[in-house]
Symmetry: C2
Subunit: 205 residues, 2 copies
Amino acid sequence: MTDQQKDTEQMILNAARKVFIEKGLDGARMQEIADEAGINKALLHYYFRSKDKLFGMIFQEELGKFFPKIISVMSSSEYSLEDKIRAFVNDYISIFIKNPFLPSFILRELQRDPENLRQFIVKSGFDVSSVKFVITNLSNQLNMTFDEARHFMINMVSLCIFPFAGRPLIEKILFSEDKSEYNQFLEERKVIVAEYIIRTLKTGK
Amino acid sequence: MTDQQKDTEQMILNAARKVFIEKGLDGARMQEIADEAGINKALLHYYFRSKDKLFGMIFQEELGKFFPKIISVMSSSEYSLEDKIRAFVNDYISIFIKNPFLPSFILRELQRDPENLRQFIVKSGFDVSSVKFVITNLSNQLNMTFDEARHFMINMVSLCIFPFAGRPLIEKILFSEDKSEYNQFLEERKVIVAEYIIRTLKTGK
DNA sequence: GTCTATACGGTGATAGAC
DNA sequence: GTCTATCACCGTATAGAC
């Protein structure tokens, strides 16, 4: 593959990523992706055959980003549980600060087509069983049932993700016009959410 | 307006609600709505002029459901703070159990078009300032800053909503094929989330 | 009010020149 | 590999009969 090919392909992917994440599969237009990439529609099909194929590439990539890579840290024995929670929350929220529309994108497209999810998860290289393993560990450490630990885990993830997925609404209702205020708020959550969760552990369940 | 008119109009709205909520504005087809309502496309336009207009009706309605009506209860002085939290969480989660796709729908469409949000909120009759009032009250009762109380409030809402918006993903990763298991899980959260939040109040911040 | 038929624009995809 | 031109289809919207 020549450099030129690689460049064009990459430019297309970058353009597609931007448009698909903002508009979704249904809302995106091949013309808009072509414009964004500075080429024409025909070339999109030359490289990726169809809109669906191109979308698949992007979705796969983004799903990979979405899955918390640090999940395995949660099951290590090197750090205290509290520090693991701090690391998880901090890293996960940081990912979304870097990719603010990632949560909305993933949630939207999963809703649109939940059927193919399993194969996408497999291809993304995410190890589903590791999450169950983490939860089992949690249930042991915290004297909880598996079900309770699952609630706990999902609570943690909810607190990280929702302020991104619900940003338009929350921001309009509870924040000023100044976007930096909400960004500041998200920044604060790296610490606040972790401490909030840890606090629940200090009282008996 | 005759009964017949009212019936047809209502049938269209019911069909449109179902299709729009599932597919979103971009994914929905007027043909599908017509089929669902047992009529033809032309009649849709006769009653609602355009797809956008029809969508607006539905979105407006659903946004009204989405806003927690019980928010004012939070600022009453009749119940203890803990009981108010229990009531809020219980009622809010109950709404989503009855309307499981409401959160995804609202979040998706807000993401698509955040601009017109303000006017939609106004028309939905939701009083934005009441939320700020509740948060101010919270900050007084809990010896917090406004900013901290806002985090607290958003945490509470996150824990209620996210398990619905993220259901396809969570269910696939952490639950069995049996749908009733996840429904049971959501049912449990009416109590678990409230107690989880209350627990954070019992340790000093 | 409700239907069938159709106009009209847009969109994904392909053909073919260079 | 990249472009222009074009096709075939689909989706919204309207015309007009009943």
